[in-house]
Structure formats: C-alpha cells, structure tokens
Point group: C2
Chain length 526, copies 2
C-alpha cells in the first residue's frame, strides 16, 4: 500500500511543496509508511472555490442521482475494505475487528442517506396554492422546501476514523442535503483518510458529478482548519472532537463577515443515575456493564460514562468494590494518538491529586507508548457542586463515582451539570414512579435519556439523537447521527408565484416524486 | 385608559422604584399619558427565574391545554381591541386601520399555532421499536420527538407593535413549543405592550398555567435586554430590529457560559431584478407597484425593497421617471420613533452626498416631528460593487436604482450582495427561461424568491419563509413567520428503552394522539 500523501482538490492532487508529516503508530510511536503534505493556503482556497463552483449543479441533481452517488461511495468503500482494514489499525491502535465494524457502519450510513434522499420527503415540502379572489388581498402561491446550505467543511474525528471522518455521518448527511464537502482528514490517520477520500473522488467521477463536489485536505493543527472555516465559500461546519477545538472553530465562524453555523460535538460525561432498588437487585451485573461501557474502545467514545451517581449506603459500597475490581482487570489500552494520551494523563493526574478526590482504582503500572490506564475516582456531592473541574471530561477509560444522600441532593447535582449527549437511569420496577422533578431535570440537560442501558453504542436510525445542550454540542437543536442529521445542512426556502416550469419537482403540482407534502397544512401524498 | 407602567413579573407587578420614562407621540413629540418604569436587575432575575420554575410544568401540558391557552390569549386580545386601537396609533403614528389589521394578524397567528399544536404532528415523532434478537447486538427501543428549548426571551419590534411584539409570532411560536416567555416591550410603545401583556397574563390565569409562563419587562435601551439574554434561565432569544441590536444580542448570547441560539431578524434590502420584456411591457404598472411597496407603512417593513436592478436602456429611463414621480407624490410620513427618523435621515443624507450617487426624488421640504420623506437614489454597478455602504439598509421609504448592462454584470451584483429575506424577479413570458446562473445566485442569497410581485406583504401560513442568510437573520435555517417558526424553539430528543408509562403521549404505542409519525422510517398515522 503506497500513499501519495497529497490533498485531493476535486479531481487533482495538491502539490507536495508544503510542510510534510508522517502517520505514527500509536502503539510503538514509530512512523508508518507514507509522507503526507499539509495543505497550503492556496490548496484550501482551491478546494473551497471548487466546492462553490460545484454547489449549484450538485444541489440541483435529482434524488436518484444523489442516491446513486451515496451508494457509489458506499460501494467504493466496500471495495477498499482490505486497504482500510490493513491501514486503520496501524494508525489508530484500534483492532481490525473495529475497523471492519466501523466500516460497516459507515457504509450503512451512506446507504441510509441514499434511501432517505430517494424517498424524498425529507425536504418537508409545503404548498399553499394561490387564492386570487381572497379579500381584502389575494393570497399568493407559496411553496416551501428545504434546500442545501452550500459547501460544508467537515473535520474528521480521531476517535471514529471512518464513521465520523472523511466519509462519515457529517459528509454523508451533507451530500444527501446537496452540499459539496471539503473534508479535513485527522492528522493521526492520514493514510486512512487518503484511502477513503480517494474512494469518494472515484465515486464523484463515476456518477459524473461536478469536480468540486468533494475535496480532501491533509494537514496538522489549525493551519488547514481555520482558513477553511474562514473561507467565504464555506457555509457550514461539521466537527467532532475536543471542546477547545470546537470552541475555536465556533468562534472563528461567528467572527466571519457572514457568520455560519457550526455543528460541533465536543464534550460530554454522560452521567448515570442509579436508583436504590436497581442497586440492591443487580449490583454485580451493573458493575460489569458499567466497566464494559467505560473501557469500550479504550474509553474513547463521546458517550463514555464519566460520572456515576449512586444512592448512599451499603449497596453502593458493594457496587463500588465490584466495579473497581472489574476496572482494575480491564488493563486500559493504547490511545488513538499521543495528544489524547497526554491529555488523559494530565486530566487523571489532576483529579487524582485533587484534595477532595479519592482514587479507587488505577493501573498506572501498565507501561507502553501512549498507554492509557483505567482510573476510577470518588468524590462527594459537596465537592462536585463546589468545583466544576470534577465534572469536566477526561477523555479515556475513567469515571468518577459520587453517592447522593437523598433525591434533593441528586436533583442539585443534576441541575448543576453542563449539557450532555446522554443521561442514563438505572431503575427497577420498585423504583418507579421516578420523581418528576428528576426526570425533568435529566431531560433538560441532555439529548438522549436511556433507561437501564449504557450510553455507549449509538444506533444509526431515524429516531436517534446524538446531540444535546452545550457543551455536548454547539447546537442542541441538531443530531449528528441518524437521518435527522441532514437537517443541519439545509434551510427552508419559499418560492412565491413561481412559474410551474421553474419549480423543483418536489413542489410541482401533481407531486411527480410521490413524496409526503403539506398542502394547506394537511399532510398528503397526493 | 390608565397604565400602571410596571413590568409584569408572572402574576405580580414590579415595583416602581427604577428609572421612569414616557411614551412619546411621534407625530408631535409630546408625551402620552402614563409613566413607565424600567425593569431593574432584580425584576429581570425574577422574571427569568419564574420562567425557569414554570418550564417543566408548562412543557408537559397537553396539546389541548396549550391550544386552549393560545386561543385564550387571542380572545383576550380581541377583547382588548378598543384599547389597542386607541393607544397604538398614538404611540406609533400608524393609522387605526393598521392597528386593527395587525391585531387581526396577531390573533390569527395565535390561532394558527393553536391548531398546529392541537393537530400535534409538529413534534416529528419517530419510533424505532426494539429488536431484542438482532445480531450481533440487540437494537434498543428508540423514540424521538421535538421538545421545548426552555424559557425564551422575546424582544418586541418597533415596526410591528403587535404581530412581532409582546404577543407576536415569536411569543406565539415559543408558547406553542412549550416554552415560557419573558417579553420586552419596545420602549416606543410601552402602553400597547402593557395592554397586550396584561391580556396574556389574564390568559395564563384563566387556563391555570404556572405563573412564570409569561412575564413582560418594560424599559429603554440595553439595560433590560442584555441582562435578560445573559440570564442562565433563558435558553433562546427571538429578536426583530436593527442589525446593530441583533448583533449585540448574538454576541452576548455566544459569550455566555452556556451559549444559546439567537433568532434575530435584522437587515435586508430585498432587491428587485427587472428583466427586459417585463420592463418594456409594463413599465408604468411596475413603477406604481414599486412605489406602493417602497412607501407602504412609511417604508418601515423588513421586506421593503431597497435596491432595484434594471436592464439599461430607454425603457429603464422611462420607468425611473414614472417611479420618481410616484415617489415624489407619496409624501412620506411619520416614523415610528425618533430613533428611526434620525437613522433614516442620517443614512439618506450620507447616500445623497455620496460622490457616485444621484438623487432622483426626495421631498425634503416636507417638515414635521419625526417626518421621514421618500428618497430615491441612482448609482452604477461599478460604484455598487466598489462600496458596500450603497447596499446597506436605510430603514424607511427609500430605494436605490441601478441599471445593468448585461446578465454577467447582473450576476456580479447579485453575487456581491449580503443575505436577504427576499429576492424578487419581474419577468414576462418572453424573458423565460431565465439564466440558470442568475436563478441559482438569487436563491443562494435569500429565503424567499418572488416572481412578479413585491416583497412587502408576508403571508402567515405553513409555506412561508421569513428568514434568510446573514445579515437578514442570524440563522438562515429558520423562519420567524408561519408554522415553521415553532422549530426555532424546540430540539430533537430521544428516549431509549423508556418504560411505556413514562413516555409522552406522542410516542406511546397505539398512537393515542392520532398524529403522523415515522415508524421504522415509514410515515403513518397508525
């Protein structure tokens, strides 16, 4: 497997005259084959300008063409499976099984959006025909549908090198909405990015779409990302990563002459609230389940549970013992890259040294390049309420346990928390009905409320919400997983008194696409 | 008619110990009856805190209760019609007919949202039932619906003292979404605000809703608005007004510890593109129509056309002559308040003195307190492209005319424009088909594309979009008019494996509300 290492600017390769870098094997720290070249300012401009040129043509493609394109990308990725399964584990320290599984999910997402676009009702078409005789003033003919926002910048995530990266959910939903994409491959897995980006590039050619439909930028740090976000051709941004990274992007996007929306998925500790009967009845199973969720993927999931709230008492102590043992045995693993390993080391060391924090389990004696080890902490409600830093995310296999004396104390903790992707409740029949104030407070602080499960494992479907109040995302009114993700990259548009010949098919009389529409506010397929 | 002049904090009145102000009759500059008191920092905190307390209960009201509340507000406003029709013209210099018409629209909006909530499908319910036997992992039960964002701050607009103010579209759509509202009455019409706010307050009591469902703050300047936007209990903002005001609010909202969305409708010049055959065939009628649109409501509409693009030639000169005469005869009128009069005077003087601008018509000899007079300017494409200030909004009965040599020049102008609420094309049959590049560019820069009409007159219905790219709004993905406005104040939420008893009715098996839902991606009412 060889890599040219250059950014893909439409159908061309960028020149190789910028600074270069290599991918490092996180398990060894050694450089992997291939030299990659950071996109220059001219490359960024070229990619964004090509996207702007392609935008009108790509947006006006039919649903059939756009679905065919999404499926072609899926097929190209399937054809690249051997290369991806070989390279991705080297760049990420994730096992080959994960690479294959995540590729399946990525392909599934693309096909899901193909089906969504093909069915067509996602445009939310609304017709209010003219009433020329209405008094005192005639009613014009008004037709509404969602249209694309324009070119989208997608930042590949390090922790989902496929499903939230170059051809991940942001890219798939942007394409589905009719938006050209300029993707930035995460610097930690540029080889995987090149394989995936080349697959998309081939699909653009095969389906005969405009060149600027897709570009891939390679590079390290903000040198590539910030100029892209600031480029006038870019109309929205999708990002999955750190809080500091997401906030930097949001700040630049807001400071543009024309501010643009940023959909950044950033930081979440996904609290788990355990109720007394659940704790009494299935302490051991819950401890094992929690340990599995905390250590899954070496803890490098956005939905990793970083805070567990237990009712005080003997059962809590039993649970904590079982959980600590399970975590001690989980042994940690290798971080995706040195940046994550260092940040985790620093965050866990800080917590371990905090005056009001007790360390319950750690396996700090487990050495290796970029090795991250499980850390389990315990603190009090009073300390948690007094110090925000105890509820900040330590990205990796770590969690903090707190016992609450009663429901008022639990409520105070929940209300003090920042916005989360998920909240989970562990409750048995005898724990119901739950205090309505607690349920309302949980719902108020998250995007997904889970009963008797664990937050890791995000189903890709029409009913998923992977989003939530700040800082879990920059925009609680969005999801980055599931069909709802398409709404981020579209906006409502109204045609008033347009001649029939100029109307998009979705809005034509007679409903040639056979989609669900609102006509005078009534839903129909006629 | 007497006024207590104090803010309404839930069911109480604020104290009258803050700074006081009076409403001024813009036509005379004289103070109107009533002393009004600027809400103190404590009043702002009290209103926002009451809203936070009410939020969970108000959100969980049934559709029937929320619809009854919206209709009760409408009925209370109808009962207040005599007082509104008497006071509003004094505070705004708008005629009584406008007050009655706008009240009708405001009541209509409330009833439209009542019907929307009652029908219930707006929550976009999506069910993906569990598949416990799925391999390799079971699929959980996932149920999705839109829920309220929480308390909303609404800034009343000066130019729609009813329809975009205390009980206007922002408030109606926020209530419909289940959000408590803290409204700020515009300082120019505090008496109208008190009448309307009291009507809402009575409706809250009649329907038996929690006290904090609604509060009204009185005050001048940013003393009230900025602390409200910064209050942690507030979760979204609706604003209609100036660009500087909207941007100041957006900046403060983004700088909060928990940033919140701002839906500000700010600045738009609503360009009109005239095609050659339309100009040749109906020059006179178009000139009269345009004059009517520019001078409607003394030019104080967000959709006022401030830029007219004509194909160069003799027909353009004929049109300009007819339009200038019509505008000369329109005589202007009294501005809503001194701030608008001064801003308009300053903007038109600046443009009149611009080296590359010609003044075609003005009636500067038409004196009176806060009198604004029509101004028609003409400049060249080259000047327009060279100087952004020529396409900035001069809020009032003013427009600027530019002639374009050919379609390439027209395209350059359209592409150079900032985002607009509307774009209009005047085209006869022989002008079709329109250049696809021009249509794409127009669509790219606005929220509503109008053919052979004028942008003023915004229909309130399911298919309207009153929104558009920056700076026409802060969020192109929203509309502030029509049923789509409810989406601004809601967010998607997912319940995973929730016991049936805890599910909202919208998501229960058997569909007790009879709403349209997606089940495994298929739309059904079953």
């Amino acid at each position: 497997m060889t890599f040219h290492g250059r950014s893909l600017l439409g159908f061309s390769h960028a020149s190789a005259d910028g600074s270069s870098f290599e991918a490092l094997n996180p398990a060894t720290g050694d450089a992997l084959p291939g030299t990659f070249y950071t996109a220059s300012a001219a490359d960024v401009d070229r990619a964004a300008s090509l996207a702007a040129e392609a935008s009108a043509d790509f947006t006006s493609t039919s649903a059939a063409v756009r679905a065919a394109f999404l499926r072609e990308v899926a097929d190209e990725l399937e054809a690249s499976r051997p290369q991806i399964a070989a390279r991705m584990p080297l760049e990420t320290a994730l096992p080959e099984g994960r690479a294959n599984g995540e590729l399946g999910r990525t392909i599934g997402q693309l096909r899901m959006f193909a089906a969504l676009v093909e069915e067509g009702s996602w445009v939310d078409a609304r017709l209010e025909p003219a009433q020329p005789d209405r008094a005192p003033v005639p009613k014009p003919d008004l037709r509404y549908m969602r249209i694309s926002l324009g070119p989208v910048a997608v930042f590949g995530a390090s922790n989902f090198p496929l499903a939230f990266s170059v051809a991940g959910g942001d890219t798939a939903s942007a394409f589905a909405a009719g938006c050209p994409v300029v993707a930035i491959s995460h610097y930690a897995h540029p080889g995987t990015g090149e394989i995936v980006g080349s697959a998309i590039q081939r699909a653009v050619k095969t389906v005969g779409l405009p060149e600027g439909t897709f570009s891939l930028l390679q590079g390290t740090g903000p040198d590539v990302g910030i100029p892209l976000v600031e480029h006038p051709a870019i109309k929205a941004v999708g990002f999955t990563g750190s809080r500091s990274g997401g906030l930097a992007i949001a700040e630049r996007a807001a400071a543009r002459k024309e501010p643009i929306p940023v959909f950044a998925e950033m930081s979440s500790i996904n609290p788990i609230v355990v109720r007394p009967n659940a704790l009494a009845n299935r302490s051991e199973a819950m401890a094992m389940g929690l340990a599995g969720s905390v250590s899954l993927g070496v803890g490098q999931f956005c939905t990793n549970p970083g805070l567990v709230l237990l009712p005080a008492g003997n059962n809590a102590e039993t649970f904590i013992g079982a959980f600590s043992r399970a975590m001690d045995e989980s042994r940690g693993g290798t971080a995706l890259h040195a940046g994550i390993a260092h940040a985790y080391e620093s965050a866990t060391q800080e917590r371990a040294q905090h005056a009001s924090v007790e360390t319950l389990a750690s396996t700090a004696n487990n050495p290796g390049a970029n090795r991250v080890n499980p850390w389990i902490f315990r603190t009090s409600v009073a300390s948690l309420l007094a110090d925000d830093s105890l509820t900040s995310e330590a990205f990796g296999p770590s969690t903090t346990i707190v016992t609450y004396a009663d429901d008022d104390e639990l409520l105070r903790v929940i209300k003090s928390l920042e916005g989360q992707l998920t909240m989970t409740v562990q409750a048995d029949d005898a724990d119901h009905p739950l205090d309505a104030r607690i349920v309302a407070a949980l719902q108020n602080r998250c995007g997904r409320l889970i009963m008797n499960g664990f937050p890791t494992g995000v189903e890709v479907c029409s009913a998923m919400v992977h989003g939530g109040p700040f800082p879990s995302t920059t925009d609680a009114r969005s999801t980055s997983v599931g069909t709802g993700a398409i709404e981020r990259f579209s906006r409502p548009f109204c045609f008033q008194d347009l001649p029939a010949a100029m109307l998009p098919d979705a809005l034509k009389d007679g409903n040639p696409l056979g989609i669900w529409r609102l006509i005078n506010g009534v839903r129909t397929r006629d």
